[in-house]
């Protein structure tokens, strides 16, 4: 909020240094990973939506949106925003924590507001605002659902995402939640949040295990691959598949009472919009927005699925 208080002096300095900028325009840089999988695609969609909306609402705000296909590109994007657009605030969803920490710190050191989304940085205290998804909560809610759906226990196979701290936290939360419930994980492999990879892994799980009671696919893209493999194998021992992240096609199937997909656990890609909106509020008003904002993971069942169905989102 420092920026808001010293706005007059800053604007004057900016006017002197960069006559090309209108003196009352503040620039918010948004740096996010490119749409390389379904969730990221949804996140890109919501980022663009938030930027479009806020540009209309706040004439005094200007946005720079950059999508990066790898951490190195993201570092370049952020450096470019600093050098050429003189950003007043940065909203960043780090591709990876370690490589992005020092570039984002440089932005913070320059006096700009920093909002970090989803993935934390390697050093604490750099960001002014942290909008976080709750990954261990995601695993916990998923595990608790498994326990409630399988009161007598059973054998499940579990799918992991791309090896990252996000994935580790989810799995740890899940394992803690099912501990002592009689649910046994008989196989766990990386499906990389990818339909094709999960299809192949599930085919092999089905060859390997004669009896599987349920699948924790942990992601809706992976759930689609898993479901296709089960259907092709014609197996009927699997009672349900629990995905996650709330892809609209899967939400629709839960809403319509598909027995194979009785539930979903949210990890909303729209959290990027939350972060951009809060940053805009922070820059344009006196409302304090610094701190940590955790977006909880919610269990979706047939009863509440309609509330989580967003027909326009690509995810």
């Amino acid at each position: 909020m420092k920026l808001t208080h010293s706005f007059g002096a800053f604007a004057l300095a900016a006017t002197l240094a960069l006559p090309a900028f209108a003196q009352d325009t503040k620039v918010i840089g948004v740096s996010i990973p490119a749409a390389t999988h379904g969730w990221a695609g949804g996140m890109n969609f919501h980022a663009q939506q938030a930027v479009d909306r806020l540009e209309a609402v706040y004439p005094g705000l200007d946005f720079v949106l950059a999508t990066a296909s790898d951490p190195a590109k993201q570092v370049n994007d952020i450096e470019d925003m600093m050098a050429t657009r003189n950003i007043d605030a940065l909203v960043v969803l780090p591709f990876e924590s370690e490589p992005l920490t020092s570039p984002v710190k440089a932005v913070a050191d320059s006096g700009a507001w920093v909002t970090v989304v989803d993935r934390g940085l390697a050093i604490e205290g750099i960001e002014d605002l942290y909008v976080a998804g709750d990954n261990s909560g995601f695993g916990k809610v998923s595990g608790e659902y498994m326990v409630s759906a399988m009161p007598d226990g059973g054998k499940i196979v579990a799918f992991r995402g791309i090896p990252t701290s996000i994935d580790n936290e989810r799995v740890a939360g899940f394992e803690a939640a099912i501990e002592g419930s009689g649910i046994e994980i008989i196989g766990m492999e990386h499906g990389n949040w990818n339909r094709d990879d999960s299809f192949v892994v599930m085919e092999d799980f089905l060859s390997k295990h004669g009896q599987i009671d349920a699948v924790w696919a942990s992601d809706d893209d992976m759930a689609i691959g898993v479901l296709a493999a089960i259907e092709a194998a014609g197996r009927d021992d699997i009672k349900f598949v629990l995905g996650g992240a709330g892809m609209k096609e899967m939400i629709a199937r839960t809403r319509d009472g598909d027995a194979m997909i009785p539930a979903n656990v949210t990890y909303p890609p729209a959290m990027i919009a939350t972060a951009i909106e809060m940053t805009a509020v922070g820059l344009t008003s006196t409302a304090p927005v610094s701190g940590t904002f955790v977006i909880g993971s919610v269990l979706i069942t047939q009863d509440n699925a309609a509330e989580f169905y967003y027909p326009d989102s690509p995810f």
Partner: protein
Amino acid sequence: MATADTNPKPAMRLDLKVMGPILALVVLVVIGALMNGNFLSAGNITNVLSRSAFIGIIAVGMTFVITAGGLDLSVGSMAAFIAGLMILVMNGLLPVMGVGWPLVFVGMLTAIVAGTAAGFINGFLITNMRIEAFIVTLGTMGIYRSLVTWLADGGTLSLDFGMRAIIRPIYFDGILGISWPIIVFALVAILGEVVMRRGAFGRHAAAVGSNDQVARYSSVNVNRVRMMTYVGLGVLVGVATIMYVPRLGSASSSTGVLWELEAIAAVIIGGTMLKGGFGRVWGTVIGVLILSLIGNILNLTDGVSPYLNGAVQGVIIILAVILQRDKKAEG
């Protein structure tokens, strides 16, 4: 090892060169059978062969490109783009043509035409514009990947549900229990082997890859041969996509990621020389099977951390190539 550089025992050396990939494959099959009783079940064999078909069909085309001294890094992105296009065309024409096989054939035609065009573009830039194959296909790789992301609006392109039921048998059904992807892969491989061994085109490709100046003096139309290898690869990418789309009925920016490297690795494991001049289609087929089996075995067994899957693959790829290394090339 140190004395292997001279003439004696050429027959045995040749033997190991030929046998290397087969030996690696046999070892893998034995390991798999020992580790898990279901490994040799009909279901698992069908799974492994069917999923090998995409890379396999592409790798046969890649064998000709590499034999002629070229390279194509764009095939994975190209497959994703063609899959996206095929889905869009079928969804778009659905209201006009209705659900049914005619629409499936239109989708197939789209894939073949798009593959031919994409291969032609690569070939044209490489032969007529005289740009390095590596750079051209690195460029088109990025272009196709971006295009499919753009077509899908960052999400996933999904085939209409009714159409999916019609098209699904292309991946999952077949004749006499042998699924279509396996049949098509086998036909493409046999055709490729015949063309490489018996056809003039195979000899010309090897001549161009070996020494394009000499090939030119021998009245081989070097540009035409190069162009044809890229167009042929494009067509085969289209064929592979026709097999791929029915499986999950969707395409996204994560479709076909790293297929190009798997195809190239399979070609090299199979004994084709990366610098061109010599190609072996049956070896490529073995290479594809080796790569698929590694993943399959790692999934069927416990004990190896899934974090190390890539390392195991890397070691086996290198071992397979060591088994058949050309001593003369050591200098």
